[in-house]
Symmetry: C2
């Protein structure tokens, strides 16, 4: 086991995944909530350069009452890694994501969660457990309840999956983020963004490793850089509001298990490649903040360490990248651990044309059917959709 | 020999230094200018996101005439590496640097340079060669003359060193940058910033390796990120004009040869440290662009790869860093390959106090005398000081 790289925490690196999103179904496990309340140190040392005022220390000793009888929250899909931003950078994508509905339910044991329903397109939702301790939304929801000290109210949770599992679009993070925001909203929005990220991280830790590069942008929106975990230090990178940024997301019918994609990574990196990727990471951050889309695309495409190891494991991926660039995309790489390919462009119509070329190439060079989505950068993050006040 | 990391060029990595700044004196070598005019590909593919309009392709086929009989140009000191920005990031420092005076001289063979004088404080200037092929200023000046196609005019060059050699403050780069700018100015400012960087790189290649992290900020000012060399791709990072940034530069009386400091580097880097340093590099770039000085300092101090290997080679350096941070500096690391220690702060008076503490610690823990300078960020770069028109 390799120690975590970002902090002196006990989490292993590169992944502490105890279960993949596809083998979570463990019905019949006794519900025993063991997720501890975060220590004062962890919560008070979190830092986040958001414009949203921090509510750190808002963890209440007196239990808050629900301010709504029900709420519905949405959290967007996310693209993690972004080439040279491997394991510390991610961004949110508008119009794709998961929705969590929560209701105060007197039939649920106080302080607990009951998952009443999991719905969504595709068959993959049947693989998800309704045991809240083995469900991304459930784990995050319970963690927020713990943080708030909820002991007198039980909640019923319904999860609507808008994202396929294991696609590299932050499916588990979207469920966790939507659930965390929903619980926080039903109890009067007491927690700060950082606490919601920490709660969602508990979920990620269980299903895919202690990495915030999906959950942080899923909650905060836009681009987020994870500077450290101990303390949690998140830097929001504002892409200029007046600029357009579209993601062409092409998902082939192919399974790319995170564990296998992690195993493909090199343990050691030569100094030349290290310096190259570091400089591209810096260029990527600069291009986001400066709204320089050609430079962003160039940096996105420039990874010499991770993508060259992973792309050959996804049939057709290398050709798909070439096809995207040939069709005019500013840049292209693997989204998260794949198998989705992500390209960037500044125009929706051109994005759709690029998507078609990428689909054709997945079929031609990888013998894989694929589907494309062209979506804007999500600048908002997880959000309340509706609520019924008490 | 390890191949260069940034491009498919023939330059070795980590350093192609044929001579260190301290062993350049090779009097009596026949002057034979072999520096080729850059190929069309190299010059046309250079890219730089400066506000200064590019003059790429300005390389003239008809020889330009001098527009001045004499010029004087200054180029500032630079801090390269900046912790996790190792080998691709640097910034310029106001009020310290080298000055080059140039005169059209009918006694000098047309198309050539004669170094008439080298002056400056300290004894180190006597180590510099007056042979223009073995002098940083001479090499860069000749390269600019070649780029411009100067065949009919000879120039006399006088170099005033304001920087000590081998201090880690970009002494050779300052000489090269001042000379390149001076030649360009005397012939009517025909070349773009990128060409001047390329000309100065020829000089760096000969004395300390093909790295632009000193010459690019020496010419352009501010912070500059080197994204690639083939083509040359420089990203200027604008630190907000309304914010103050001071560097506390403490130079001990100690020699830290670049070759030795390069040899101390690890050949391979574990994935956790690679990801950590990449994320810190991204955070460093973000903090510069966002003008977030505490975050800049934190990133500056965070290098887990280079500084831990080099600091023990400079007596007292680890204690000096602790002393700077204890005294209130936002961050501290080694400047370039050392031995200068650089700390950052937002107030000049506090900078002087921090400098005193660092000097004390060099003496106490390293048994080294040291001197301190507290200087602002230079936002201008190499500049014309005076000229006499024809």
């Amino acid at each position: 086991m390799v120690a975590c790289f970002l902090c002196p925490c006990p989490h292993p690196y590169p992944s502490s995944a105890s279960a993949s999103p596809l083998d979570l179904k463990q019905e019949g496990v006794a519900i025993s909530i063991t997720i501890p309340i975060p220590t004062q140190r962890r919560t008070t040392r979190t830092r986040c350069n958001l414009s949203v005022p921090s509510k750190t220390n808002a963890i209440t000793k007196t239990e808050p009452h629900p301010v709504c009888t029900s709420v519905k929250a949405f959290a967007p899909a996310t693209v993690a890694n972004l080439g040279p931003g491997f394991d510390f950078l991610g961004c949110a994508v508008d119009g794709l994501g998961d929705t969590v509905s929560l209701t105060v339910d007197p039939h649920v044991h106080p302080g607990e969660i009951s998952i009443s329903d999991i719905s969504g397109t595709g068959t993959s939702t049947t693989k998800l457990s309704k045991n809240p301790l083995w469900n991304c939304a459930g784990i995050a929801a319970l963690e927020v309840m713990k943080m708030l000290g909820i002991r007198s109210v039980g909640l019923s949770l319904s999860l609507e999956k808008g994202l396929p599992l294991g696609s590299g679009l932050g499916s588990s993070a979207a469920s966790a983020a939507a659930a965390a925001v929903a619980v926080n909203e039903i109890f009067g929005n007491k927690l700060a963004v950082q606490e919601l990220v920490l709660a969602s991280l508990k979920s990620e830790e269980k299903v895919s490793g202690y990495h915030a590069d999906n959950v942080a942008p899923a909650i905060m929106g836009g681009f987020v850089l994870i500077r450290s975990y101990e303390p949690l230090d998140l830097i929001q990178l504002m892409f200029p509001a007046e600029k357009e940024l579209f993601f062409v997301l092409v998902t082939p019918e192919f399974e790319a298990p995170t564990k296998k994609m992690r195993a493909a990574l090199p343990a050691e990196i030569g100094m030349p490649h290290h310096v190259w990727n570091c400089s591209q990471a810096g260029a990527l951050v600069a291009s986001v903040l400066q709204g320089d889309l050609p430079a962003l695309g160039k940096a996105l495409s420039s990874d010499k360490i991770v993508e060259p190891r992973r792309a050959p494991l996804i049939p057709g991926m290398e050709g798909v990248k070439r096809a995207a660039l040939d069709a005019g995309a500013f840049g292209c790489t693997i989204s998260g651990a794949g198998p989705t390919a992500v390209a960037v462009i500044d125009d929706e119509r051109r994005g759709m044309e690029i998507g078609e070329r990428m689909i054709d190439t997945f079929l031609k060079e990888g013998n894989l059917k694929a589907s494309a989505n062209v979506k804007r950068l999500d600048r908002v993050g997880a959000r309340l959709i509706s609520s019924t006040r008490t």
